[in-house]
Point group: none
Chain length 150, copies 2
Amino acid sequence: MIELDKINSKILHELESNGRISNTDLALRVGLSASACLRRVQELERTGIISGYRAKLDRSKLGGNITVFVMVGLSEHLKKDARAFEEAMITAPQVRECHNITGSVEYLLRVEVSNLSSYKEFHAEVLGTQSQVSSITSYISLGSPKDMRA
Amino acid sequence: MIELDKINSKILHELESNGRISNTDLALRVGLSASACLRRVQELERTGIISGYRAKLDRSKLGGNITVFVMVGLSEHLKKDARAFEEAMITAPQVRECHNITGSVEYLLRVEVSNLSSYKEFHAEVLGTQSQVSSITSYISLGSPKDMRA
DNA sequence: ACTGAAACACCCGTTAA
DNA sequence: TTAACGGGTGTTTCAGT
C-alpha cells in the first residue's frame, strides 16, 4: 500500500483516461517538467501501481455480444494446478476476466462470445480440456442494468 | 458490425495487451511497414473500434480496495420488484456492475469497497433493506489473473 | 541540453475492379 | 483509370540520459 501525493493522483487520473498521452503533454497537464514527470510515471510502473496499458475496444462493433459468467471449481488445490488453469484462461481470447474468489468454487470468469454455439465450443474446448476442473456453472447475462467498468 | 482481416485482428490483439507499444514495434509484430500499420491503427480509431487507451491500475496498492462478487436471488419475480431492486443497485455507489443473469439466482453484482467493514455496511444497509431479496451469496475476490475490462 | 528514435505527413508503386 | 493498399522518405516531436 502506497501513499500518493496530489501530483501522482493527477498523473494516474490522466493516464486512466488517456493511456497514450505523451510524457510531454502529461507533464504540462500535471504541472511538472518532462523529466520529473517521466521519473514519476516510471516509478508508478516499477511499483506496479500502473500494471499496464491497453486499448479499449468497442466489442459491439466486433460481434462479441453474449456475455456469460462462469463459476469454475478445481478438484486439485495445488499451486501448479491453479497456475495451469490461470494460464489457460489468460490464453483463451473468449475469457475477458478471470477472478480468483473465496467460497465454494475457486474462479469466476467473464466470457464474451458472439453466439451460443461459440460458447458451447469454449465450454468443450477450453474448459473441457482442463483436467483439474471439477465443476462448471454458467450464468448467461440477460442484460446489465448497471455497468460502470472503468 | 465491421469485418476484420487477419492483420487488423492481430493489431487489436497486440494493442489490447499492450496499449503503449510503439507503432514501429507493432508494425514488426503484425508484419507490416510502419506507415501501413499506422494507417490501419488510425482507421480503427476513427471508426471507433478502438475507443481509447487507458492505464491499468492496481487498486489493491492504493488503499485496500476490495472487490466482492455477489449473487442475489429475489423472492418475487414480478417486474416491479426487479425494477425496484435494479433502481437500488443503480443508486448505490458501491455497486460497479449489476447483471441480470439466468440460473438459480437473478443478479450478479460487482461491488467495490475499501474494506470489509464497508462491505458489511453495504450488505446490511443496501441489500438488507430490499424486502424482495431472498438470497445473498458473497464471493470476495482474491485477485484477478486476467482482467481485460473495457 | 543533447541524441537517437519514433510519429506523422507525404509521395510513389502495385494490384484489382 | 482510379480506388485501395503497402512501402519508403523527410521533417517534427518525443523519450531517455
